[in-house]
Subunit: 359 residues, 2 copies
């Protein structure tokens, strides 16, 4: 897709390699953010070799991606999760998958990412290396590339280890005709797998709770899941959302907010791992509001709902997919839950924050 | 360029407007980062109305920009400047212009920006409104649009008021054939205006120095300057760099580092404002290393250098443009300064950081 002189790029990479500085410090200092020799050692000695590709190795002010055929999708996300490592993942993986998934639910195949790092003075080399490696692994798994980057350093107590921004460019799949405006009553609400895993994994990793449970973050790239829906549903796929901050309940509320429809969620149909359910009960949380980092919500026409679930279950990330609800006429603008006893409860947007800094 | 259903977008904006929540809090709290009602009030009540355009108002996970004709350029930059406001600008303006300028020096007309905010708990509504307004103003001046955004909140002492990441997409001008590999001995080094203004303005704004001087940051969009060079130089324009962190000295060093050439800078030819010169002398700084936020360095063929300077001086941002040096065979990989007395001094990369968190 990108058109450049491959030989020229090879030569430039080779030139860089010959003169590559080494990063020999044990901790990040303010000097690493100054733009001089220390910055060069950090960027070219530690970061670039781990993310090596033609775009990153060129190290210009901007990366020229070449011509992109098709409609371009663009998104951004900053990650401030604490702690930076947790069972099932870390901030680096989250930063790649989060942005890849924003593209995927817009119907776009992810192509290129940017990487903006804010490092706290005192961050250890080990911590940073682990995260750059996590980013490299996630980038490879998601079949995307880091095209450009930026690194800043702030004084101790002016950040929390590191914050990571990723922005992403994708190409919208030709079959995608997505948007909440396409939702109509009768449409089915599908979730691609178990809900609440990520939020609970991070909460438990904080160690503030007298609670041990084996819950792993679900952080993963969702393009294969989105593609399965595009293939199986055709125009019956109305829209997709990744259910991150605020969980499935927040996604459902955002969908009904601009449309004259409501959503009824069948609470007994929600896929929730027993360990997540148990932790939620102890913490007084509702899994519907807990963040996911590898689950999407799809609204599909009633005639393609079964095919959609079957297609999702055939993917690795979608094997617990389920229909969890339906779009209704009334009450418009509202999300209701139908409980195990047949009653209804209001599922509103939350005001406060039960789980701060979860992503 | 972007192809979407204008009527549909209008309807969606109208729907949003009818139901737009109001942001009524005096300060940012953790709840504003949680993804629920408070986040919606912040994003839709305060941020989006100030940045209003079709892309932002849609508020989907990703913005579909439509088809982009030509080669796409992609860049990212995070801003952590302190203080967030300083004479001549503020972090919001800097964040827009910095990314616009990375695109401009890659030969690309800026098209769309992303906006990633990290807000510190306790940030006042006034501070945030001022910065969103600054972003809106800079976006308009640079003729670009904010296409997508993300907002996170961290606890007090986990950031410093606010950090801003912007990533940018641009379309490479058809006339641009740029890269440091095109530099050859005999080429001329041009700077588009006075150097060191931004760094000194921010230093003085910190108020730690017993020094009063009227120095304004030079933050501004450089696409008109880049375009003047593309038009006036043709293929004689070898490459451009914006001289931000580390100043002109760092840019010159980066250029010679991968090529088998050196650069001689005529120190008497450097355009420096008297107030900047005076402040630098008192602070023991060399203006060559001080950050600019509205100046680019261009390398051009000797036959087009005069036309280039004339074209720059015809632009508002380039009226103090000057030839400041020459590309030489020897010493390869080195930047030398020729002083007023005819002697030479080495202009190396700095190791430490005389001016931390300047951008």
């Amino acid at each position: 897709m990108a058109e450049w002189d491959e030989q020229l790029v090879d030569e430039r990479i080779e030139q860089r390699r010959r003169r590559r500085p080494r990063f020999t410090d044990d901790r990040i200092t303010l000097a690493h953010g100054a733009g001089g020799k220390a910055t060069r050692a950090l960027v070219e000695g530690l970061i670039v070799p781990r993310l090596s590709n033609d775009w990153v190795a060129a190290l210009d002010d901007a990366a020229v991606l070449g011509e992109l055929e098709g409609r371009v999708s663009f998104t951004t996300d900053t990650f401030v999760v604490t702690p930076i490592r947790f069972p099932g993942g870390s901030i680096g993986e989250l930063a790649v998958n989060g942005t890849v998934n924003d593209l995927a639910v817009s119907g776009a195949r992810p192509v290129a990412l940017s990487l903006g790092l804010v490092l706290e003075e005192g961050l250890t080399r080990d911590e940073l290396e682990q995260e750059i490696d996590a980013i490299a692994g996630a980038v490879e798994a998601a079949k995307v590339r880091v095209a450009c980057g930026d690194t800043k350093v702030v004084e101790r107590t002016k950040a929390d280890r590191l914050y990571v921004n990723t922005s992403g460019i994708g190409i919208v799949d030709e079959r995608a005709d997505l948007g909440s405006h396409r939702i109509v009553p009768g449409d089915q609400v599908i979730v691609s797998g178990t809900i609440g895993d990520h939020g609970i994994a991070v909460m438990l990793a904080r160690g503030e709770l007298e609670l041990a449970a084996d819950v792993l973050s679900d952080t993963r790239p969702l393009w294969p899941v989105a593609e399965a829906l595009l293939t199986s549903c055709g125009p019956g796929l109305r829209c997709m959302r990744d259910a991150t901050r605020g969980g499935v309940a927040t996604v459902a509320n955002e969908l009904v907010m601009t449309q004259d429809v409501g959503i009824i969620i069948e609470e007994t149909a929600l896929p929730v791992l027993p360990a997540v359910n148990g932790a939620c009960e102890l913490l007084g949380l509702d899994p519907l509001y807990v963040a996911n980092e590898g689950k999407l919500v799809a609204i599909v026409g009633p005639d393609v709902a079964l095919e959609a679930v079957a297609a999702l279950r055939a993917t690795e990330a979608g094997r617990d997919a389920a229909v969890i609800g339906e779009v209704v006429d009334e009450p418009a603008g509202r999300v209701l839950g139908r409980t195990a006893f047949g009653g209804h409860r209001m599922i509103d947007l939350l005001v406060g924050d039960p789980l701060p800094r979860i992503c």
